[in-house]
Amino acid sequence: MLQKRNLFLNSLAKLKSWEGFLLFLLAVIFIINSQQTSAYLSVQNQINLFILSIEKIIVVLTMTFLIINAEIDLSAPSIMGLAACLMAWLYTQGVPLPLALAICLLVGVLCGLFNGLWIAYANLSSLVVTLAMLICYRGLARVFLEDKSIGGFPEWFNLLGQKPLIGPFPLAMIVFFVLLVIAVVILQYSGFGRHVFVIGNNAEVARYSGVRVKRVKMLLYVASGFVSALAGLLFAARLGAVRGDTALGFELDIITMVLLGGVSIFGGSGSLFGVFLSILIVLNLRNGMSLANLTGHLQTGVIGALLIFSVLAPNIFAQVRAAFRRRRVAAARDEAC
């Protein structure tokens, strides 16, 4: 009985934590948005919100793994762009589309492998390596398409991106939910997931405890490359046309979603539940801003501010709490005297 009560209290305490705050924030956004229009609360609207940013959200999953592992992949949006551009270029060269898609997924894996080699085996900082590759892969994407825009893909490809496949869900959303389930299982219920957390907490300790740090990092980067390429292809299918700047600047939204979800930028902590809540928050916030007639650029600014806030707020929170604790200790000491 007591144990049960403790469990209940623990889960309540968890709600008081960051996730609780996110739920509160989400509720506020929901209430404000639903005041603006009645159409907002419909299921179709929520699905539409997901569809409009589904590619970013898919990459958020692998980014969560990497950031918990105390690394980062800034090059993910460039891999998305590279995959989409390469696919379009191969298609104009007369390569059959299914083959082109497979080649692009392979290129995504190779990009991830390349990142991982430098970071895991040459011990270079992941920030610098993926920053360099952000420029490099984007440059390669531009080499393929120069300043052209390529469209006119086969009908089935465009329908795959746009038409609902099962019920009201298009392919990209199904891919996302399948990947989400896989990610939850791996991160929260498998040995590999434990390793990701342990390495994020302290890579040195992990290495001495026999965790194969290099292999885990390598796998994460390969997965990131593959998933980014997949997301890029889905993006191309949804838009029906590809340009050199496809997916340019997505890193802002992706990293904001991960960090707002309570994943520590220093690694070692975070949960996919929090990340999922923050995805909902960012999507609904953008929707609300559109309803309030704020332009896309202003929305980007607000997301940028939100990114800073999502790290700043816990820091300030911790500092205030530490100050209170100090005061309480001091008060207790005074009383004792």
Binding site: I72, W118, A122, N123, L124, S125, L127, V128, V129, L131, A132, M133, L134, I135, C136, Y137, R138, G139, L140, R142, V143, E146, G244, E251, L252, I255, L259, I265, F266, T295, H297, L298, T300, G301, V302, I303, G304, A305, L307, I308, V311, L312, N315, I316
Partner: protein, 355 residues
């Protein structure tokens, strides 16, 4: 050999190699492009280096303390636009006030970064990705989709890029290049001789030790970001003078160019090493490549970014692999020198004892 080693340092060797590379690259392009090295090309590269290098120097200060400033491009864009608009509206603003205005805006934006990073303890990469978006949004909202036009700017701004200090035959040293050289000299002095500069290196080499030694680390990092903002503001003014027409996308991508320049120039973000002179060399290398690739017809100019990215990676990787080897050679030779002096001393003592 030992004397040779004690006269120089691994960083000097690295800079010499970079100079050699710059010469090799220009020789290569001059064999590929007819009439490659003319006065116009020199002036174009030197003016564009002037802008990149000024930003890169600010980035260097921040980079030395293991931080990043990704918002520099947006700061450059905002100051260029804001100052341009004020000058369009009021042609009588004196030059000094215009420059002051640009630097002032940069200081304010840099200070916002600095407060959040050093007092709010938010990692710099997060903060500056955020402010990159926020400052750009400010610019877009502020501009109302209007463009600053060259025709409406006062004459002195438009003429500024063509003002010469000194000419060697056809080669002109422009005023903007002079400003850049002044900034290089000032900050090289600051980094080498002033306590503030030395502390930047100390924080970068070992943040923990710097804090234990009692350095006001937060304050120093804050000032580094303010200075980076100020230099970006100055670069914004140079940008306005160089291009005249300023749109809302002005300065986009300069954050990457500046990081590329200093990484190629040998500034390290986890060892607290690198010099302002190195950053200048890096900027020259980057701009030389960029401007040459545009003129090289054999391959598409779109290769620029792909090459730039690989160049950054190679620079970092070679630093990790080669520079550490060089450093160990130097340390070993220093150890030998001290060993010998110890032996000499012992022998001397031995003689004394004998006597």
């Amino acid at each position: 050999m030992k004397r040779l080693l004690s006269m120089t340092s691994p960083e000097r060797v690295r800079e010499l190699i970079l100079i050699l590379l710059i010469v090799l690259v220009s020789l290569f392009f001059s064999s590929q492009i007819p009439n490659y090295f003319n006065a116009r090309f020199f002036n174009r590269v030197s003016t564009s280096v002037a802008i990149t290098a000024v930003i890169a120097i600010g980035q260097t200060l921040v980079f030395l303390t293991r931080n990043f400033d990704l918002s520099v491009g947006s700061i450059v864009g905002f100051t260029a636009y804001f100052v341009g608009q004020q000058l369009t509206r009021n042609n009588d603003i004196p030059p000094a006030l215009a420059v002051l205005m640009a630097v002032g805006i940069g200081v304010v934006m840099g200070a916002i970064n600095g407060v959040i990073i050093s007092y709010g303890r938010v990692p710099s990469i997060i903060t500056t990705i955020g402010t990159l978006a926020v400052y750009r949004t400010l610019l877009i909202e502020f501009s109302d989709a209007q463009t600053v036009l060259t025709a409406k700017l006062p004459k002195w701004v438009v003429d500024l890029p063509r003002v010469n200090i000194i000419s060697f035959g056809d080669l002109d040293i422009r005023l903007v290049v002079g400003i850049m050289l002044l900034v290089v000299v000032i900050f090289q002095f600051v980094l080498t001789y002033l306590p503030f500069g030395r502390r930047l290196y100390a924080i970068g080499s070992n943040p923990e030790a710097a804090r234990n030694a009692g350095f006001p680390s937060q304050q120093i990092v804050f000032i580094a970001f303010v200075l980076s903002g100020a230099l970006s503001g100055l670069a914004g003014f140079l940008f306005l003078a160089r291009f005249g027409n300023v749109t809302v996308v002005a300065g986009q991508g300069l954050e990457f160019a500046s990081i590329a320049a200093i990484v190629v120039g040998g500034v390290s973000n986890n060892g607290g090493s690198g010099t302002v002179f190195g950053a200048l060399l890096g900027a020259i290398m980057i701009d030389l490549l960029e401007n040459s690739l545009i003129r090289w017809l054999a391959i598409s100019e779109f290769w620029r970014d792909a090459i730039l990215g690989m160049l950054i990676l190679l620079a970092v990787a070679s630093d990790k692999l080669v520079l550490s080897k060089l450093r160990s050679i130097w340390t070993r030779s220093e150890l030998q020198i001290t060993d010998e002096t110890v032996v000499e001393k012992q022998e001397a003592e031995h003689h004394v004892a004998k006597a």
